[in-house]
């Protein structure tokens, strides 16, 4: 960014830019050379930025009307739904926005897994991303507590109780988190405070995430390093801006469908019953996006080990750039990895399903197998695959496979004919 040779045209622009190079930054963002073969899976970065901003704007508006008090929270949410102008719209956008945010982030993460975007030199982008994801889960969990319905209350009770598994100091930590001897008003007010704070932390990390991205530039579907700028790249504006815009619009159509036509389908009916510490719901289930981890937690018989397993399921992702020993980034050129990738996708979906089911009988067994496989994928399959796998030759540039007739392609074809 520092070596950018942008010179503003106007005199004022020059004066301003010499003191604060905002115009240079804007010019860098517009000209940023982007691989021209990015497919639509790459549009989810922009979509996620949209989700974050939507959540912040709707959240601020809701906070103007919401009352963080155990006796009034539920009522204030109903006040928003009934008497605040378009309060129902803002709340439904915020509640469904959380689900859409997670849907987008899961696609974003699995895109990275498929195309090896986490590998050198993009490890820090990946790790910042994992931290953002963790913060998102914290924010979503605390946000779900705020309406103070039955699921809010009991979800908060179950999750905070996990900390009691920590030896010796567990009980103390839980009481400290609650601000008392059970989930109550002090818990609600601190959750509200943190729920308000975390999105801005995420916003800061998103800036770092994008900054770190702009150093090496985007990975791309064939996962090779490219010269920038070159025939392989296009300027971010207008090419990527319009493409991201198009994908974002398609995404908002799905979003709008949920908000306007089935706003409560992703929530749990019990959360429309006001919190009651004396009545436990029949099933305590977290929101859908936390289900895979909930399944991992429950598949371990020991409480402490279960918590450790659940946390490591997320933290293991941070070590991924070093667990994956393959030099080839994109799964396009890794026939074996590609298969294991889809098995992992299926595994996580199965875990999500199991998380929503009662932890007993066959469900428990399937959950255990799926949990074991999840860790097996990262701890055994990926490291071994890097050494054992026979990869397909990688093209030298993006233009090459498009124009055809390259040296690599010729070699690859030759090999095939030789094998025959």
């Amino acid at each position: 960014m520092s070596e950018h040779d942008y010179i503003p045209k106007s005199k004022f622009g020059k004066w301003f830019n010499d003191r604060l190079p905002l115009l240079s930054l804007a010019s860098h963002l517009a000209d940023y050379p982007t691989p021209k073969n990015l497919n639509y899976w790459w549009t989810f970065g922009g979509i996620l930025t949209f989700c974050l901003i939507t959540q912040i704007v709707t959240g601020l508006t809701l906070a103007m009307h919401y009352i963080a008090h155990a006796d009034m929270a539920f009522e204030s949410v109903e006040h928003i739904m009934r008497d605040v102008n378009y309060g129902w719209l803002i709340r439904y956008i915020h509640a469904n926005g959380a689900s859409m945010f997670f849907l987008a982030v899961y696609i974003h993460i699995f895109r990275s897994l498929f195309y090896g975007s986490y590998k050198s030199p993009r490890e820090l982008i990946w790790i910042i991303g994992i931290i953002i994801y963790l913060l998102m889960m914290a924010a979503a969990f605390m946000g779900y507590v705020l309406p103070w319905g039955q699921m809010s209350f009991w979800g908060a009770t179950v999750i905070t109780n996990l900390f009691s598994a920590i030896p010796l100091v567990g009980e103390g930590i839980v009481n400290w988190l609650w601000g008392g001897y059970s989930v109550d008003n002090p818990t609600l007010t601190r959750f509200f405070t943190l729920h308000y704070l975390i999105p801005f932390l995420i916003l800061g990390l998103v800036v770092l995430h994008i900054w770190a991205l702009h150093v090496p530039g985007n990975n791309n579907p064939i996962g090779i390093d490219i010269k920038k700028p070159s025939k392989d790249t296009v300027p971010f504006h207008p090419y990527i801006v319009i493409k991201d815009g198009f994908a974002l619009l398609m995404f908002t159509i799905v979003f709008a469908f949920f908000v306007f036509y089935s706003p409560n389908i992703l929530g749990h009916a019990d959360n429309y019953i006001e919190a009651n510490p004396l009545v436990t719901p029949a099933h305590i289930v977290p929101e859908w996006y936390l289900l895979p981890f909930y399944a991992i937690l429950r598949s371990v018989p020991d409480k402490l080990l279960g918590v450790i397993a659940m946390l490591s399921a997320i933290l293991i992702l941070a070590a991924l750039p070093w667990l994956d020993t393959s030099k080839i980034r994109s799964a396009v050129f890794r026939p074996l990895y590609k298969q294991f990738y889809w098995i992992l996708v299926a595994d996580v979906l199965i875990l999500g399903y199991i998380g929503a089911m009662p932890a007993a009988g066959l469900y428990l067994l399937i959950g255990r197998v799926a949990t074991a496989y999840y860790f097996l994928h990262f701890l055994v399959v990926l490291p071994v695959l890097g050494f054992k796998e026979k990869t397909i030759p990688v093209p030298l540039s993006i233009t090459e496979p498009v124009l055809g007739g390259s040296l690599n392609l010729a070699i690859a074809k030759n090999k095939e004919s030789l094998d025959k």
Partner: protein, 259 residues
């Protein structure tokens, strides 16, 4: 692009079906056609007004509706009673108010701005009067039950004699659709318990449908404007998406890469 759309639609379908299979428990509820379902769904005004009548004459003796005010009955998208009618309805209830200048509490006729009056002073009083079971507040009841309107509609008609061998305690009734089949509420509706002002025949089925429609409105008072706005928003988004798609094609045609 094609691959992407194919995969994305698979993801969306998997996502929606798993969500639905999670949320809807597999119970065969009684079916009826609700006028408020679907993209253009609206409430049946007559049904809402009749439903309100069933609520006041039957349910309200035990069930509160604490988030509703009498003024809501006249608002757009609801039962839409006239302004005068709402005033008369409100005035027919005795509301506790105070303290006055002398520090005394007093009762006065209700005003449209008053909340629906509560049948009991507090939860304990409600439990004491109902054999220990608290009749739940009905403001958002429809959204607070797994099967939603179908569940409430079925429950109201689900009273039967207990199967032989099942022993029910004093004050407990058998209901086909209740969780665990045991319910403390006795069958609230019976033929002709309400005499409809518009002459509609008050069968149990009709009353169940009307009162459930009323409860749906109570839980989602802005449903009609939500549906209207949703249609406009989605049409707008689709048109904009097409325009942006065409611009994108145009811009990307400057280079040979497919978009």
């Amino acid at each position: 692009m094609k691959n992407f759309i194919k995969l994305l639609s698979i993801i969306t379908i998997v996502f929606i079906t798993t969500v639905q299979s999670n949320s809807a428990e597999k119970v065969d509820y009684l079916k009826t056609d609700w006028s408020f379902k679907g993209i253009f769904g609206k409430f049946d005004r007559g049904s809402l007004q009749r439903g309100y009548q069933v609520y006041t004459e039957v349910c309200s003796s035990c069930h509160s509706m604490k988030y509703l005010s009498y003024r809501n009955l006249g608002e757009k998208g609801g039962p839409e009673f006239s302004e005068e009618a709402v005033k008369v309805i409100a005035a027919s209830f005795e509301v506790n108010d105070g303290p006055n200048a002398d520090g005394e509490m007093f009762t006065r006729p209700g005003k449209p701005s008053d909340k629906f009056i509560m049948p009991y002073d507090n939860v304990k009083a409600a439990q004491a009067a109902n054999g220990g079971a608290y009749p739940p507040d009905m403001s958002v009841l429809v959204k607070a039950r797994g099967g939603g309107v179908d569940y409430i509609y079925s429950l109201l008609q689900g009273y039967e004699d207990a199967p032989s061998g099942m022993i029910l305690d004093e004050g407990v009734h058998y209901n086909k659709y209740m969780y665990g089949n045991k319910i403390k509420m006795s069958a609230p509706l019976s033929e002709g318990v309400v005499e409809y002002r518009d002459g509609t025949e008050a069968t149990v089925e009709q009353m169940s449908k009307d009162v459930t429609t009323f409860l749906m409105w109570a839980a989602e008072p802005h449903l009609e404007s939500r549906h209207r706005m949703g249609f406009k928003a989605i049409v707008y988004l689709i048109i904009l998406t097409i325009l942006v798609y065409l611009s994108m094609k145009r811009i990307w045609s400057r280079i040979e890469t497919e978009v």
